[in-house]
Symmetry: C2
Subunit: 377 residues, 2 copies
């Protein structure tokens, strides 16, 4: 989980970024509520999809607003000064529309809000809330864009939290390698990975990604399992994320179903070489198109095709998130970026291989955050 100290650092960074005339902000994007307060509505709960809003003042006071049931469904501690619970359901009376509760709590607590003094996240603040707003916005500043830019450079508590996602993902990769064999289904693999992740984490969480077999006839597929039975000679793409309170891992191994062919071994080795080359150019201020070009060229040098998809992307509260390793990327790596590198090739007659690791970008280079074993067997 995030720390109180980390949340305070991020709040201060936001205030340092905003014009001095801004006295308060209303945060309504769930990822940003998490970022500044550690509040995360558990998606494995009856409150999935319900909202908590933050009213944050430049003077430092942070107020969280929601209905009384959503506050029962938080994952982890809320680092706020005040909690305003609008009673939606008291167990005695009928209920009205739960979705109105954060807005009602905001109105009751803060009355009319004057746009000369503060900023909303307009891309997630519901239009219904306009009834409590007066005046014209003082600037064209898009608060959501500002915060998303701040999110690129992860703080130490975010990196620690991401490492816990990576650790769970590693546990799932061990289970994946154990279960993949002819005769099991891709759904069996999902269940085994999911179960190992849950055992490692010790609490319910979400596991998503590509759990699919490729082969000579269909070298490239992706997505969740489709109850396909693995065949001898297939290559299983195990490319998935573990989400803990919004933050997530995302790394990949390809596992041979049965004994890999020499061509499959060569394909994996080319991807390993590409990954190694990509790793070497990771450092703050490197261009993201250079990372893509490096990975792709190395695949060609090893005798395979240019990289047919991105070479990786940023990772955090979203997936993918900036920066992206693509041919025309204008992104520049920053100290504190957390990224994936994921070379792959998909060859008719052979099958598909993709491998992937996650890295923290530093001034001198990068730190590998994912310690799963990359190998076909």
């Amino acid at each position: 989980m995030l720390t109180k100290e980390g949340c305070l650092i991020r709040q201060k960074r936001l205030w340092d970024t905003l014009p001095e005339s801004v006295e308060w902000v209303i945060i309504t994007n769930p990822r940003h509520v998490k970022y500044f307060s550690n509040i995360w509505v558990n998606p494995v709960s009856f409150s999935a999809g319900q909202s908590v809003w933050l009213h944050m003042k430049r003077s430092g006071k942070v107020t969280a607003l929601s209905d009384n049931f959503t506050f029962k469904s938080l994952s982890g501690e809320a680092f706020v000064d005040e909690t305003v619970e609008e009673v939606w359901y008291d167990g005695v009376h009928s209920v009205e529309n739960r979705d109105h509760m954060p807005g009602q709590a905001l109105k009751k607590t803060f009355g009319t809000l004057h746009l000369s003094e503060g900023i909303f996240e307009w891309d997630s603040f519901p239009a219904a809330g306009f009834e409590t707003v007066e005046g014209e916005p003082p600037s064209d500043l898009v608060l959501g864009d500002v915060i998303k830019k701040l999110r690129r450079q992860k703080d130490p508590d975010e990196v620690e939290h991401l490492k816990s996602c990576m650790g769970a993902c590693e546990a799932g990769h061990v289970a994946g390698k154990e279960i993949v064999k002819p005769g099991v289904t891709d759904m069996d693999v999902y269940r085994a990975v999911n179960n190992a992740v849950l055992e490692h984490v010790g609490r319910p969480c979400v596991v998503y990604g590509d759990f699919r077999a490729t082969n000579a006839e269909t070298p490239k597929v992706g997505g969740l399992p489709v109850s396909y039975t693995l065949q001898d000679g297939d290559l299983f793409l195990l490319d998935y994320s573990v989400v803990l309170e919004g933050y997530r891992s995302d790394f990949t191994n390809t596992i041979a179903v049965g004994t890999p062919s020499p061509e499959q071994d060569a394909l994996l080795n080319a991807c390993l070489a590409s990954l190694e080359s990509g790793e070497k150019v990771l450092r703050s201020n490197a261009t993201c198109r250079e990372v893509f070009a490096t990975c792709s060229k190395r695949l060609v040098k090893e005798g395979f095709n240019p990289l047919p998809h991105h070479a990786g992307h940023g990772l955090g509260l979203e997936h993918p998130e900036p920066p992206v390793f693509v041919p025309e990327s204008t992104d520049i790596l920053m100290n504190g970026d957390v990224v994936t590198v994921e070379p792959g090739n998909y060859i008719p007659g052979v099958g598909g291989v993709r491998i992937e690791r996650n890295y923290l970008i530093t001034k001198k280079g990068s730190e590998n955050l994912s310690h799963h074993k990359i190998s076909l067997k």
Copy 2:
């Protein structure tokens, strides 16, 4: 999943409810997007939390709007006439804020929208979208409230879909009964139930609820597992939901850890009697306070305490949703309501027991939708 026919019936019902002057509606609540189009962004995907919007015309045309990556993450078929994909990420260029995409797609496709002609879901439509809106709303009608009322009476395709949730939940209850014994943890129970549900369903889904042990010292607890090791004499409350594409089950059994005591047996029997009494008063036009009173009085008649929480609630795309079985409820049961009935008692020195079934309300009574075995052993 929902059917195309069902979606068309629900669209027609909405148009029949709205004033004739309303030519179009913009649907932005994810549950309502599902309700009218079967579009559901898979929460087990990298697009969890992203939005698809619907533009629905009275003349019948339905347009879905989102970014190109969110459309890759739908669970099931989209019953719409047109799909507008705003390209957020093309795999070649850097990306901007993904959250802006549905609004951009709306603006490009429909230009300025005049409020004299249509209605938005103001409680979920983001204020940023106001730049494409002109004029004043023609009425105070709150579209979200209107749709939530329509949602009470489930259509046949919704009931079928709910039955598939119930079937998966039953499979989990079998696994729960098998694993509960002294020495296993509540998290072990969660994993076993989750795994059995996934095996039954054949695709990733969400399982949430109460997975907790009660006992003489702590007769009432709830929530997700906390890695407690079950002790001989505990009573395990297994009260959970399986969510498939937004719809969900919610039923309960209490399982004895070891051999139940005579007092624990008596407590379960009282709850069974209460459930039976509650079932008998279920029928359209019954008052929800009567259901509560019936369940509670029967517990007292059997020698236990009045029911200390609600006797049940509506179930569908939300949980709980109206109607609610509580002392001061003003709700009246409707034909097509899907509800739970869940009597419980929590006795110091004995432990807690709660049991629960799900029912479809009919004109003559109810249909039990949950066929798990209710028993301590």
